[in-house]
């Protein structure tokens, strides 16, 4: 009897949560597929995503930023973390602290304080939305760090590198051809989260007046609400797809090491 009550109430509660989370998403879909004046169904808003030049430009910018951020993260963080693990273990705490620091320092604070730094970036690299990559690499550090750290932790990196070194491999070979292939799922996981974060990032890009996808979504919402709703839903679904892929990757990784 008690078990029955529990089973029923469990499903009722789950249904209530499902309703709470799904209704706004259904509302997005509903709004984006309707003509605001006549109320008829139309795919115009979704079509505009690939035809409206402002929108396509913003999507391109955001995707490029995501790709550059992933490259920057991998180039900066992966060798550093492997190097710390193999050669400078006493710096472990320092690197961990610095990587997790962006959780304590809101992105908004970084924007307020980065005028001077970006004056130099503009001077050296030129004024382009893609310079946001530098801040974004910092913003994704905590998430990438965790993903790579868990992959590195499950690996006897010292033994592997000793084996490789004794066979005559240099440090570069050890990192790129011995350790990296072994932590690849972790790096990929960090990359997926980084892409999702960059595609949704609004704080920095809006306050520096660069037109990334979220900035454009907000900007056109007054003039063309359905289109901005369509873009919002599309980017949400894209991020969902990425994180779903990540969860499958996670499961594949867990299976062989399950014993």
């Amino acid at each position: 009897m008690g078990a029955m009550v529990w089973r029923v109430s469990r499903w009722l509660l789950l249904a209530a949560f499902a309703l709470f989370f799904l209704v706004p998403l259904v509302a997005l879909l509903n709004f984006s597929t309707r003509d605001t004046r006549t109320g008829e169904r139309t795919g115009a808003a979704w079509q505009a995503l690939v035809e409206d030049p402002t929108m396509t430009e913003a999507i391109t910018t955001s995707l490029l930023l995501a790709a550059l951020t992933v490259v920057g993260m991998v180039v900066l963080l992966v060798p550093t973390m492997i190097w710390v693990k193999l050669r400078v273990p006493r710096a472990t705490r320092l690197v961990e602290f610095l990587c997790l620091l962006p959780l304590t320092i809101p992105a908004l604070v970084i924007v307020v304080g980065m005028d001077n730094v970006y004056a130099w970036v503009d001077y050296l690299v030129g004024d382009s939305p893609l310079t946001l990559t530098f801040v974004y690499v910092v913003l994704v550090l905590p998430y990438s760090y965790r993903a790579i750290d868990s992959a590195l932790g499950s690996l006897d990196a010292t033994t592997l590198s000793e084996a490789a070194r004794s066979l005559g491999a240099g440090w570069f070979t050890v990192i790129t051809r011995v350790i990296l292939p072994n932590i690849w799922p972790g790096v990929l996981g960090g990359a997926f989260i980084a892409i999702a974060l960059v595609l949704g990032e609004y704080t920095v890009s809006s306050l520096t007046n660069y037109e990334t996808l979220p900035v454009v979504i907000v900007a056109i919402s007054k003039a063309n609400a359905p289109e901005s709703m369509a873009a919002a839903l599309a980017s949400l679904l894209f991020a969902a797809l990425l994180l779903m892929m990540l969860s499958f990757l996670d499961r594949r990784r867990r299976h062989p090491g399950g014993k």
Binding site: F17, P24, M114, N116, A196
Partner: protein, 302 residues
């Protein structure tokens, strides 16, 4: 960690520089320089800039003027509303999120329900707030799904709920990403609750109620409080959702920072954003420090 390595292998590599003296001691550390330089330039320098800027007069030189202005009514009210918003969305998010996490954890790890919930939570908690703000505008705003539904059925205002763009709306939309975040951070703690503990309690004659109140809750309390603190910090630091939802006025601190950055002068101070940003650092750092301390206590058991 390195002490437990079974092989004597690492010894020569590590010992060689130590024997040859100080000048070689920093050898491998040089490899960290690119990382340290990057983080230094793009994270530490902006933070330090904020901290120094908060104590500087606009013409240069030390001044406590900006800090003093934090006590004026506008920033104080924004801070109070920010704290209320963070606290209420953290409490609601923590309670409902813990409940959802419990509903999910009782299902087997491979079940569809569990996979779906964790996947959806991952997206909603980590993806930017702009889309979530729009989702709620499409629901409760002008011409929204629920707005039309309510207007047709009970005759509610067909123009949408104006409270969506004020504090109650912010709490609602924040809850929409706080519950998923709670599920993500609290699920591991719930998974750590071993069935053996329950069996032991039942063997000793405990009822379900006694098990929950005397075993499970005390065990989970640090993890729960820690997660709630994380939620609080997350809400306090959030900007995108509020910025997309509230286009005018500045009911909360992050939006007051926006005003100060975009429309030049707040309270007669050009760079007042520095002081407000410092205020944010202090609040978030306090909360995260408490979180780290609680996390240490949790890891003893779970």
């Amino acid at each position: 960690m390195s002490e437990t390595a079974p092989l004597a292998g690492p010894a020569p590599a590590a010992a060689a520089p130590r024997r040859t003296g100080r000048s070689f001691g920093i050898g491998p550390s040089v490899g960290l320089l690119p990382f340290l330089a990057f983080v230094g330039i793009f994270l530490v320098v902006p933070t330090v800039t904020v901290c120094i800027g908060a104590f500087q007069a606009d013409e240069g030189g030390f001044s406590l003027e900006k800090i003093r202005l934090l006590g004026e009514e506008t920033p104080l009210k924004a801070l109070r509303q920010s704290l209320v918003l963070s606290l209420s969305s953290a409490v609601v998010g923590a309670v409902l999120g813990a409940l959802l996490a419990y509903l999910v954890v009782t299902a087997p790890p491979t079940s569809i329900v569990r996979r779906t919930v964790t996947a959806v939570c991952g997206v909603l908690a980590q993806f930017g707030g702009v889309t979530l703000a729009f989702a709620w505008m499409a629901t409760l705003g002008f011409g929204g799904l629920l707005t039309n539904l309510l207007a047709d059925s009970v005759g509610a205002d067909p123009n949408g709920s104006s409270w969506l763009y004020e504090m109650p709306g912010l709490v609602l939309v924040y809850t929409y990403f706080q519950i998923p975040l709670m599920v993500i951070v609290f699920l591991p703690a719930l998974e750590g609750l071993r069935p053996q503990w329950r069996e032991a309690a039942v063997n000793l004659g405990a009822t379900t109620w006694q098990y929950w109140t005397q075993v499970a809750f005390p065990l989970l309390r640090p993890a729960f409080l820690g997660s709630a603190l994380l939620l609080f910090a997350n809400a306090f630091a959030a900007y995108a959702t509020a910025a997309a939802l509230v286009s005018q006025g500045a009911p909360i601190t992050p939006l007051l920072i926006r005003n100060s950055l975009t429309s030049e002068i707040v309270l007669g101070q050009a760079n007042f954003a520095y002081a407000l940003a410092l205020e944010m650092i202090v609040v978030v750092a306090l909360v995260m420090g408490l979180y780290a301390w609680l996390l240490k206590r949790t890891s003893r058991w779970l």
